[in-house]
C-alpha cells in the first residue's frame, strides 16, 4: 500500500508538470467536442491524433490520448440529454430518461448528475485499476463465448423493463432491432446478409447511425407534425441539481460504477453494454419502476457512471495482458507500441512514468472535465430555449454532419433517414424504441458469441448450461425476464379473486 502511495505521488509529479496538465486540458476539451458530435467517437478521435503524438514523450502522449477518451465519455451525454441525439453508442441508454428530464425542464440536474456521476465513477475506477489491475486480468479471459452469450441474453432480458404497456409490441420492437443487427457480413459464413448488393451495407448498420435515426430523426419528424408531447419544453426550473436529486442517484452511481468497471474489463462487452445493464439494474431495483422512461434521474446517473467506469475497466486487459478490450483501447495500444512502450506486467516496472503518470492524469483529467462541464451546463441548457423552428433544423444538421463526418458516405445518411422514418412509424403506433435499439446493440455479439460457442463444442447446445458461470447468468436472465410477468400475473389473479369475492 505504501508502495502504491509512493508510486502515485510519483505519478502526480509527472501528471502535474505544467505541460502535462496542459495536454490533459487540451485532450479533455477536444474529447468533449468529439463526444458531443454524434458519429465521431473516441476511436476516430484517438486515431486521428496518433501521427501527432510521436514527437511527444510517451507519458505526455498517453496523458493526451486518455484525456481525449475521457472527454468523449463526458461529452457523449450532453446531446443525449438535450436533443435525444446520442453522441456515442455508450450514451444511448442516457437518452431514455435524460431527454425526458430535459423535456420536463430538468436538463440542468440531468447534465449535472451525468458529469458528477462520471466523475465519481471515473475516480473510483481508477483507484480500482491502480490496486487490482493484475489480479483482475484473469476475469477478462474467464468469460468465454458461452458466458458472453449469456451476458448478452441478460442484457436482452431487460426488454421486459423497457416495454411500457404493450408487451407484444415491445417484443416485436426487440426482434426488429435484432433483425437490423443481422445486416452485413456474417462472420461465420463470410456471406453478406440483407445487403441487396450495396457495398455500403456490408459492415452492417452502425450503432450511432441507428440510434441517431431511430431517436433523433423520428423525434424531429414527430415534432414537425405537432404530434409529440415533447414539442414544447417545460420551463427550466433550476440549473443545478437539488440535494434530493443527488441522494436519489447516490446508489445508482455506486452500482453503476461497480457494474461498469467489471463489465468494462470483459473484452466482448464494454461501455455500451455496461450502460444498458446498469439502466436495467436501476429500474429493476427501484420501488417505483414506472417512473423510468419518464425522466427518472437514476436512469441518467446509473448508465453515465457505468460507461465511465467501463472506460477505465477496459484498460485492464490492455495494460496487463497486452490485449485491448475494445476498439478504443486497441488504438491506444497501437499508440503505446509506436511509442515503444510495451504493455503487460513489465509495463509497471519498466515504464513507471507512463503507467503512474497515466493513472495520476486520469484523476487530473476527471477533475478538469468536471470543472469544464459544470459551468457549461448553464450554457448548454440555453439551447433548449431556442424556438423549435430553429432548434429542430439544427438537430437535423448536427445529425447529418456527425454521421457524415464519421463515415464520409451518403449511404450512411440514407440509412439514418430510413431509420428515422421507421422510428417515426413505430412511435406513432406505440411500439417502444428502447427494445429496438437494445436489439441493435446486442444482436451482433449475441449471434457471434452463440455461434462461436457452438463451433467450439461441435454444435452442442448444452454448453450454455453446463458451464457454471454461463448457467448462472442465464438463470438471472430468466428471472429478470419472467419475474415481472409472473408478478403481474399473480397480482392480476389476486385482483380477480377479490373481484370475484366481492360479486359473490
Amino acid at each position: 500500500m505504501n508502495d502504491i502511495l509512493q508510486f502515485l505521488a510519483f505519478g502526480f509529479s509527472v501528471a502535474l508538470q505544467p505541460h502535462n496538465v496542459l495536454y490533459a486540458a487540451i485532450g479533455a476539451f477536444v474529447g468533449t467536442l468529439i463526444g458531443v458530435l454524434p458519429g465521431i467517437g473516441p476511436v476516430s478521435g484517438i486515431a486521428l491524433l496518433i501521427p501527432l503524438i510521436v514527437s511527444l514523450p510517451p507519458a505526455s502522449a498517453m496523458i493526451l490520448l486518455t484525456a481525449v477518451y475521457y472527454g468523449t465519455m463526458y461529452g457523449g451525454s450532453t446531446t443525449s440529454i438535450l436533443l435525444n441525439v446520442p453522441g456515442e453508442a455508450s450514451s444511448v441508454a442516457t437518452t431514455f430518461d435524460g431527454y425526458q428530464m430535459a423535456q420536463q425542464g430538468r436538463a440542468g440536474p440531468a447534465l449535472a448528475i451525468a458529469a458528477v456521476g462520471s466523475f465519481i465513477a471515473g475516480t473510483v475506477s481508477v483507484a480500482a485499476l491502480m490496486l487490482f489491475s493484475l489480479p483482475l486480468a484473469g476475469w477478462a479471459v474467464a468469460f468465454g463465448p458461452a458466458e458472453n452469450f449469456s451476458l448478452m441474453v441478460l442484457g436482452l432480458s431487460s426488454v421486459s423493463m423497457l416495454t411500457g404497456e404493450h408487451f407484444v409490441k415491445a417484443m416485436i420492437s426487440t426482434v426488429a432491432g435484432l433483425m437490423l443487427a443481422t445486416i452485413g457480413v456474417d462472420i461465420v459464413s463470410g456471406m453478406n446478409r440483407y445487403t441487396f448488393g450495396m457495398p455500403q451495407l456490408y459492415d452492417g448498420i452502425d450503432l450511432v447511425t441507428g440510434a441517431v435515426g431511430l431517436f433523433a430523426v423520428s423525434e424531429v419528424l414527430l415534432a414537425s407534425n405537432g404530434i409529440t408531447g415533447a414539442g414544447r419544453v417545460a420551463k427550466i426550473q433550476r440549473l443545478w441539481m437539488s440535494a434530493r436529486d443527488f441522494l436519489d442517484s447516490g446508489w445508482a452511481i455506486v452500482r453503476g460504477t461497480v457494474l461498469g468497471f467489471y463489465v468494462g474489463i470483459l473484452p466482448a462487452a464494454g461501455a455500451t453494454i455496461a450502460s444498458f445493464l446498469s439502466y436495467n439494474l436501476e429500474r429493476r431495483l427501484a420501488k417505483d419502476p414506472s417512473r423510468f422512461g419518464k425522466g427518472d434521474i437514476r436512469g441518467v446517473a446509473g448508465p453515465e457512471s457505468a460507461n465511465n467506469a467501463a472506460a477505465v475497466g477496459n484498460m485492464i486487459p490492455m495494460l496487463s495482458l497486452g490485449i485491448p478490450g475494445s476498439s478504443t483501447t486497441a488504438v491506444m495500444m497501437g499508440a503505446l507500441l509506436i511509442l515503444n512502450v510495451i504493455p503487460g506486467p513489465t509495463l509497471w516496472t519498466k515504464h513507471p512514468d507512463v503507467v503512474w503518470g497515466l493513472i495520476a492524469s486520469m484523476y487530473v483529467s476527471n477533475a478538469i472535465l468536471l470543472v469544464l462541464n459544470l459551468p457549461l451546463v448553464g450554457l448548454f441548457v440555453q439551447i433548449l430555449k431556442t424556438p423549435e423552428r430553429i432548434l429542430y433544423p439544427i438537430v437535423i444538421a448536427v445529425c447529418v454532419i456527425g454521421v457524415y463526418a464519421a463515415s464520409r458516405s451518403q449511404a450512411e445518411l440514407y440509412v439514418m433517414l430510413a431509420l428515422g422514418a421507421f422510428g417515426y412509424y413505430m412511435r406513432r403506433h406505440d411500439y417502444p424504441l428502447g427494445p429496438a435499439i437494445l436489439g441493435l446493440v446486442l444482436g451482433d455479439r449475441l449471434e457471434q458469441t452463440m455461434r462461436q460457442a457452438l463451433i467450439i463444442k461441435d454444435g452442442n447446445w448444452a454448453v450454455f448450461v453446463t458451464r457454471p458461470l454461463s448457467a448462472a447468468i442465464l438463470a438471472l436472465a430468466g428471472l429478470s425476464l419472467l419475474g415481472p410477468l409472473f408478478l403481474n400475473w399473480t397480482r392480476a389473479r389476486t385482483l380477480r379473486r377479490y373481484a370475484a369475492a366481492e360479486t359473490d
Binding site: 476511436v43 486515431a47 468469460f143 462472420i187 457495398p199 456490408y202 466482448a268 490485449i323 515503444n340
Partner: protein, 327 residues
Amino acid sequence: MTTRSRIGIALSIVLVMSGAAGAAAPYPQRPIEIIAPAAAGGGWDLTARMTVRALQEERQISQPMTVTNMVGGSGAVAIAHVNTRRKGDAHVLTVMGSSLTATLARRVVPYTFRDVTPVAAITGDFQVLVARRDSNFVNLRTFIDVLRRDPALLTIAGGSAFGALDHLTFAALAKKVGVDATKVRYVPTSGGSDALTLLLGSQVTAVMTSVSEALGAIEVGQIKVLAVFAPERIGGPLRGVPTAREQGTDFVYVNWRGYYLPPEVPTEVTAFWQQTIDRMAKSKSWAKILDETKWASFLRFGEPLRQFLDQDINETASLLRELGLMR
C-alpha cells in the same frame, strides 16, 4: 466528371510532361487525397497516415495531403467509389491490401485490380501461428503432426470471418501439408485481440493472426509463437522465432498493403508515384515507421506488382473454392 477536374487533369498532363522536359515537375498542383478504405485506427488507416507523415517529414510532396476514411466491405466501397466517381483523378491514392484481394476474389463488386491503376505494394505484416505459453505444442512441427494425425483435436481462432485473411491463411497452411482445412474447427472473431482472448481463456488451441495484432500479447509473454510465415526471420521481439521454412514447411503468408490510383490516370502520374513511394520507402523516416509498427518492407512496382496481384487473386480464389465458400 466535372469540367473543372477535366481541366485539372489536362493541366496535370501538360505540366507533368513539361516537367519531364527539364524543369522541376509541377505535379501535383492540388492537395493529395489518400483514401483509407477502413475506419480510423486499423492497419489501412495507419498505412495512410504514416505515408503522409513520412512524405511530409521528407518534404517529398509540396501539396498538403489529407486522409479520408471510406469505410465499407473491406475496400469494396472505396474501389466502387474510385471507379464510378474518380475516374482519371490524378490526385487521389487509395490504400489496398490482402483484404481487398479476398473481396475482389469473391467478386463482391464488379471490379478487379485491372479496373484501377495499382502503383505499389509497400509493407507486409506477416502472419503468425500462436499458442498459449503452457501449450503442448513446442513448434510448428508438433502442431503439424497433430494437424495431420487428428485434425478434429484442433480448434483454431482467427481475427476474421470465414473466407477472410486469417481463415485463408490457415486453409492455405492446411493445404500445404495435405490436410482438408474443413476438418478443423475454425472460430471466426471480429479481430485479432478477440481471438487472443479466446486463446488465453483456453477456449481454442491456437490462433492465426498477424505480427502486429499479436505483438502486445507476445511481449507480455503469455503466448508463444509457433512459427512466422515470412521468408526470413523478422527482427525485434520475434527475432528468436523460426520461420515455417526453417521448420521444414515452405509456407509464407503476408498481409500486404499498397496503393492504387483511379483508372485512366496519365502514365506520368503513375510513374511519379512509383518514384515517390520508392524514394519514401528508402528514407530514414520510413525506416523509423517500420521499426515502430513492426511492418516488413514489401516493395513491388510495375510488372512484378501486376504478377503478384494476379497470383494473389488466383490463389485466393482457388482456396475459397476448396473451402466451399465460392463456386
